[in-house]
Symmetry: C2
């Protein structure tokens, strides 16, 4: 950390006493360069301020929830108006029906929806629905894909027993042969196929879905009576005003949603086609706050923005500018950049960087100059970003590449990352 | 439903089109008398108004979250002040550390805490922590106890595979012999024992914990190196300003929290003793909204109320008045009432009522007169209730018993409930 007497440092020390390892989960900075702040003081639009007052243009958007800008006025007003009435009451508010109708209208394949709190709730409910629908057990998931942090799917299986994953079979994303082999391995016990909308695993290049692979997954499910599940929790509404696989012309039976659907208010969802309705209706799924009306009001306002604004074209245009500008700047400074996935959800890795030291070095130079990027996770654009923001980010990127070039010989791998990577292999 | 043209009816019809069965989870009224409203328009203090404007004194408190009154001014102000700064950002706010410190100070056995969104998140993390700590697999749970709605614990196991529960062993709550038999069944593979703070299963009399049983569970865990887990999600802070088992002098290794800890803002938690810290730190557990600062600010304000107000004595006193008054009124009208569990979390059943028709009849008479009670689930008091509220509720109860007495011969069992009970047996 740059400032020994920073409030961030003090908070980390206090946190270490009362939180295991001082922080947990995806917002722990344990696997990020040391200059990254752990705690934030405030956020507005596309910007964040850490607890020591340093400002950042935020290309993580809360790891996805921020789609229309932090503290978006319209969405916050809708949430506040509902808060004046009630939130977690003894039954849902009328807004739940309004939101469900709007959701089903927006998602092409959906005829029903159930709301929950975590993305993991939605993915877990999806596999239970597939099992209830088929009365079969095997679930196919792509190797390395993230579908949440419950025992059946967490990427770090501490405290997990083998039975939690007894009926999971893995296949390689975008690889039809591998998918078909997994289907054969499932025998007559195939309940469902889970797919990310695109391959957005951490630490490796992202891949857009191959349309032939997506269609094959659909065909297999139709032939076998299994359910096709698209886990759109991370990418939902950043690629399309519909399920992300609408872009390859494939409609799933179930889609999982979260992150951006209420612009940061805690809300996730499982949406399904008519075929899956009866099975979904047999599940007992619930949570203490699942019927809270405030996040649902924010969800309605968010869907209104999604369907009525040009947010998608705007973020795609800015993201493409950023991608092209970065490619140019990196070439100028003789770095080979691998920018993968959709421009508005980019992953940025470096060529010839097996232990990620170059990527970490660049990210550290960026964040120290007020541009919050991530060295190994998909990043996120939001509609509050402007051309001036992209100008600033590209200007800083130029400086960051220059500084990186100069200090390249002194770069070292991140010790925590190395330990984690070794534990994985 | 009493009003054919009610907004509630219209909303139910709309909901049936876009939500499986029209509603799911614990806030569905499918298993309640037909006169219960499904949708609510607003809430304030201890009162609710349904979407058709009918007012209720609410003895469910949102199924627990409402501890200090709906829209509690102090707590809402704290949440709003944080909302002006930021909620779900790219990292947590300083308030997370403040909340963790306060939580650990408040809970006697705890030296660390991790925050999450659902009670189920906390109970699932608890069993994973026990397994990680012991490197063993077996988890003992009381037969019929509710610990959430994930595949390993949901009470309606549709879509669940046997492997989800492969290492669960059940015992009978408060029964030392049964607990010891379960321990023997676990062999040398015991990871943890899960206990509710008191037996609060639906449909059956509640039971306070027998201190000898609680102590025996503690002894067994100590002797075997297993972890003792108290699932305080439902009861937390309604019985004590500490883990509920502090009342029987037994400190668990892990306690699960949710519902009331932020007075309705979506927040749950797993708290642990020093012994369990390292194991908890090995888990990868997270969720998109787990670092949201607004519910944490509400949590700090709620803990302030818990530690500085007389809410506990106030609700206990009112609840005891209600219990005594109901007992008297029921005797006056020749009904045998079974009021079990802590007075401030009562379950009210009737003698000689095997198919619950009397209880349903009474609940229907109460709710039609503006007192929202529940015929088979623990109920909840909140600190916003007053003596005048109890006067009103007891006055209505007298009328309800009288009406019930008069119409007793015409009572019929609830068809949905009957079907559910038959499916269970």
């Amino acid at each position: 950390m740059p400032h020994a007497n920073s409030l961030d440092k003090t908070l980390r020390e206090r946190a270490a006493a009362v939180i295991p390892n001082g922080m947990y989960g995806h917002e722990s900075v344990r696997l990020l360069p040391d200059v990254y702040p752990q705690f934030f003081g405030r956020a507005e639009g596309a910007r964040l301020w850490d607890v020591d007052g340093r400002e950042y243009l935020d290309f993580m958007c809360g790891y996805g929830p921020n789609l229309f800008g932090y503290r978006n006025h319209k969405i916050d007003m809708a949430a506040k108006a509902q808060a004046e009435l009630g939130d977690a009451m003894t039954g849902p508010g009328a807004v739940m029906v309004e939101l469900a109708e709007k959701f089903v209208q927006t998602i092409g394949h959906a005829s029903w929806v159930m709301f929950c709190k975590n993305g993991t709730d939605a993915t877990t409910m999806a596999i239970s629905t597939a099992r209830a629908h088929t009365d079969k057990r095997k679930i196919l998931v792509a190797k390395g894909a993230y579908h949440g942090a419950a025992p059946w799917c967490t990427p770090v299986p501490a405290g997990v027993v083998p039975e939690d994953r007894a009926h999971l079979i893995t296949y390689i994303y975008n690889d039809i042969e591998s998918l078909e082999a997994a289907v054969i391995a499932a025998g007559d016990d195939l309940a469902g196929i889970v797919a990310s909308p695109f391959k957005h695993d951490a630490f490796v290049d992202q891949q857009m879905p191959d349309a032939a692979y997506a269609r094959r997954a659909r065909e297999i499910c139709d032939a076998r009576g299994a359910l096709l599940i698209v886990d759109d929790v991370r990418a939902g509404f950043r690629l399309a005003r519909d399920c992300s696989w609408s872009l390859v012309g494939v409609a799933p039976d179930l889609s999982c949603w979260g992150k951006a659907i209420a612009n940061g208010y805690p809300l996730s969802a499982l949406a399904g086609s008519e075929k899956a309705r009866a099975a979904a209706g047999t599940l007992y799924v619930t949570g203490s706050f699942w019927f809270g009306a405030v996040p649902m009001a924010a969800g309605v306002a968010t869907l209104n923005e999604i369907t009525s604004s040009t947010y998608l074209e705007h973020t795609e245009r800015l993201a493409t500018r950023f991608r092209n500008g970065l490619a140019e700047a990196s070439r100028r400074h003789s770095f080979g950049l691998r920018q993968t996935g959709p421009a508005q959800m980019p992953l940025i890795l470096f060529e010839d960087d097996p232990d990620y030291r170059i990527g970490y070095g660049w990210a550290a130079e960026m964040v120290q100059r007020g541009i919050y990027v991530h060295p190994w996770h998909s990043m996120f654009f939001c509609s509050a970003m402007t051309d001036a923001d992209i100008d600033q980010a590209l200007g800083v990127a130029d400086q960051a590449f220059a500084a990186l070039h100069k200090g390249r010989a002194r770069l070292e791998p991140h010790s925590g990352l190395l330990a984690m990577l070794e534990a994985r292999h």
